[in-house]
Each structure stands twice: as C-alpha cells, then as structure tokens.
Symmetry: C2
Subunit: 161 residues, 2 copies
C-alpha cells in the first residue's frame, strides 16, 4: 500500500474512533466523520442527536459546521470527508452544498438499515413523486413567495453560494 | 376559505416574511421556514449560510434546530413545517429525521434553480448510482467500522431516533 492510501485509512480510523466514542458516551448513534484539507483535519464530529436534542446533529453535519467555522468559510472546496458510514440524504446534500470534493465511507446505508436506522427508507422517499410520499406535501401562496425570489434575482450586492 | 386554510396561509406568510428579512439583511439566500405544533409556532428560521459561514444553515435546518431546542426533544412528531420554497434534499431529509408530519411550501425547486440555486442539481445527483455522480465516492475499512455497528446492535441502553 502506498503512503497516500495509508493516510486515508488513518483518517477513516479517526472517523471510526469518533463513532465509537459518541456511541459509548451516549451522544447519539454510532457515526463519526472527519474533514481533511491539504492533509490536515479541519473539522470532525460524531452523532449528537440525542445529547443535543437536535435531529440534524449527524456526524457529517457536525463536522461540516466545525470545519466551516474553523476556516471561516461556507465553501469547503478542496476538502475530503471521511465518514464511518455512507452519508444519509441530509448529509449527502450538505456535502454538495459545502462543495466537499470527495467522500470516503466505510459502512453502507444497508448496514445502517440493519441496525435500525432509517437512511435507506429516506433515500427511497426521494425516488417517489411528492404525491406518493409517506408525508403530506402541499403547495400554497407561490405568488407571494415568488416576489422575494424576484427581488433576489435583481439584487446587485448578493453573495451566492 | 375556511379558518384552517386561512391559518395555514398566515403561517406561510410568516415564512415568506422571514425569507425577505434574511435576504434584505444579507444573512443568506431568500428562504424562510416556520414550524407549527398545536397551532403555535415552535421554531422559525431564515437562511444564514453567508452570515454564519455555515453551509448547513438553511431556513428549515435553522427552524428545526430552534424547534427541537424549544421543546427539548429531537422528535418533532405532530408538527407542520411551512417553507417559502420546496425543501432542498438536505432539508427534506432533515424533515424526515425530525418526524415532522406535513410540509407546506410555496416556491418550487425549479423556481430556485432559475434564480441560481443548486437544489435541482443536487436532487438529480440522488438519482445516479454512486459511480456516476459528480463527486468521487470510495468505500474503505468497512470491516473496522462494522465492529462499532455490531456494538450498537447489541447495546442495551441505547436511545433510538
């Protein structure tokens, strides 16, 4: 194995270590994540859904928020995320919004499903049209909301992301 | 129109108002969200991606985090979210994780696409297999990570979510 692969395995081992720490200390589920840029860890996290009463506090989200804070930028271009499990849809989309370049993962969403997590169910919901989903979706007041979108479109001093 | 619909329109108007406030005050993009339980607002938010340097600070995520904090529970069962735009994949999955029952939205992901947001692009990424996505995905060290999943499976005192 070359040095680059060994380095990647070490970052993943840190993500797995975090997943174990969070679980054992009752912060939440068995998930950890590490974000690396230029060979250095810029953010890491483990699942804190239970301890922080925050359903969005998945390992990857915690790591992304920490990394963004640390480099003072919402754009994490040039970075790699190491996640102890294949990211759920929330975390996957967050990785896109953060412009993280590459995703290394260990366990899969099927593995997560087998120990009681809904990742796979939620992925399947994405494949359904809105009317067929397991949740009621209803569109109202588009006309009023579009006025704000129109203002954004014509705004001169906006910061895009 | 009956009172129930008028009430729902008023909650959506609040979400639209928040979207305008956040945009005008340069917190981030033109998006607002309100979470309602038993007829009362328990959390609200507007996009703060730019102002907080947090790529996950979408209106719905901000509102979910606030609602969970306010009711001291990561489970928002029995609540409804009013979002000024159809939730992006990150926010949609967060709504599932939070067990929010219903989703009211105004603008669509296509409307968001037209004013420069990547919601629609990210939704399309979900339809691709991992190997075909616009980002590199690589699985490593599943054996080591599975040990932690096995520990979770046999753990007696875990809190599930």
């Amino acid at each position: 194995m070359n040095n680059l692969n060994a380095e990647k395995e070490n970052f993943m081992r840190r993500a797995v270590e975090l997943s174990d720490f969070g679980m054992e200390n009752k912060y939440g589920g068995p998930f950890g994540a590490v974000i690396v840029k230029d060979g250095k860890i810029i953010g890491e996290g483990f699942n804190k859904v239970v301890s922080s009463n925050d359903p969005t506090a998945h390992a990857e989200i915690v790591a992304i928020r920490e990394a963004s804070k640390n480099i003072n930028n919402f754009d994490l271009s040039g970075s790699i995320i190491f996640a102890s499990c294949e990211p759920c849809p929330m975390c996957l989309a967050a990785i896109y919004w953060a412009n993280i370049d590459e995703v290394y993962y260990a366990n899969t969403k099927k593995d997560a499903d087998k120990i009681g997590f809904r990742d796979d169910f939620i992925y399947n919901e994405f494949e359904k049209i809105i009317e067929k989903r397991d949740k009621k979706f209803c569109q109202i007041l588009r006309g009023e909301a579009m006025k704000v979108f129109d203002s954004w479109a014509s705004k001169q001093d906006k910061v895009e992301y």
